[in-house]
């Protein structure tokens, strides 16, 4: 800090700093006025709050919108709805028809198999199917509401009474002693029955 020696009108530096700042000079030259320190502007603009998101959790409404788009008739949702007595259950034999070159509806491929599990996850609900093709087990997990899935057809429902299914996930089918084998016989029988009906 610098001080003016009024007697000899010299600037005496009284601080350890060896330079004069703007504020210290202004204090010396006009000691009676208020020091030229920075003061905040009187008006601080306070803006209105931005509108927040329309809803706190957007997932339910988004899922509903996508369901309306991908499952217009509600058939696919009915296949896995828990209160539907005709829903797909583990142990059923099911054929899934998918478009091979979506969005073209020309080519359709089929995969049939035992339902060994249903993964219920809203729009991403998946069916897990297992079949034996040329003596090799093949498992396919198919997203039910995918637009590439055209149709899910239940081929066979109830297993023989001595083989009642008591699990939700039938991963024990992978073991050789519980493997049900190929569903080709059921698919063929179902196809024949459909042809006879026509």
């Amino acid at each position: 800090m610098a001080a003016l020696c009024r007697s000899c009108m010299t600037l005496r530096l009284t601080s350890t700093r060896s330079y004069i700042t703007r504020s210290s000079l202004s204090r010396l030259t006009s000691p009676d006025k208020a020091p030229a320190r920075y003061t905040a502007p009187r008006e601080i603009p306070i803006h209105a709050a931005l509108p927040g998101p329309p809803e706190k959790n957007p997932m339910p409404s988004l899922t509903q919108r996508l369901m309306d788009r991908y499952d217009v008739s509600g058939e696919k949702a009915a296949l896995v709805r828990r209160d539907n007595p005709d829903r797909i259950r583990p142990g059923h034999v099911v054929s899934v028809f998918t478009y091979t070159n979506y969005p073209s509806k020309a080519g359709v491929s089929v995969f049939s198999g035992y339902v060994i599990g249903i993964r219920r996850a809203g729009l991403e609900t998946c069916l897990m199917l297992r079949n034996q093709l040329v003596k090799t087990g093949v498992e396919l997990r198919i997203p039910l509401f995918s637009p590439t899935v055209r149709e899910v057809r239940i081929i066979k429902r109830d297993p023989p009474s001595r083989r009642r299914i008591r699990r939700a996930k039938l991963f024990y089918f992978r073991k050789p002693e519980h493997d049900r084998g190929s569903v080709a016989g059921f698919v063929k029988a179902d196809e024949a029955a459909r042809q006879r009906k026509k």
């Binding site: 998918t98 093709l133 090799t136 093949v138 396919l140 997990r141 198919i142 997203p143 995918s146 590439t148």
Partner: protein
């Protein structure tokens, strides 16, 4: 997901029945369906009565180092439409450097991922079923 020491069944008639992977020809990860590997033949079909006839000589024996193409994996593979497919075993087909199979027949199913690779059309036509 086939890596070093992974064992695969051989499903062609080249002579080998079981191979062990020693190198995955895919940068930095494990082999999936449609990837090539270098493998060592661990078990091969016994020839039986050796006849010195060209046709009855099998092409590969135990200890041979060959290239192979993975055609089935136990680890599920994702398809572009969101489906996942997995098989009950890991299987491969022995191939040469150009991608042509060493055997003349393929017994069993192969994964449809081979179609995306482009150079395995011969294997796809030989296979009994493409899933």
């Amino acid at each position: 997901m086939i890596g070093l020491k992974g064992r695969l069944n051989v499903i062609d008639n080249s002579g080998a029945t079981l191979v062990e992977c020693i190198q995955v020809l895919r940068a930095g990860s494990h082999a999936r369906i449609g990837d090539e590997i270098v493998c060592v033949v661990q078990r091969s079909r016994t020839v039986g009565v050796t006849q010195g006839n060209q046709q009855s000589q099998q092409k590969v024996k135990r200890g041979d180092v060959r290239h192979a193409l993975v055609v089935r994996t136990k680890k599920e593979v994702r398809r572009p439409d969101g489906r996942y497919i997995k098989f009950d075993d890991n299987a491969c087909v022995l191939i040469n450097n150009k991608g042509e199979p060493l055997g003349s027949r393929i017994l069993g199913i192969v994964g449809a991922e081979l179609r995306d690779k482009g150079k395995y059309s011969k294997i796809l036509t030989l296979a009994q079923r493409v899933v």
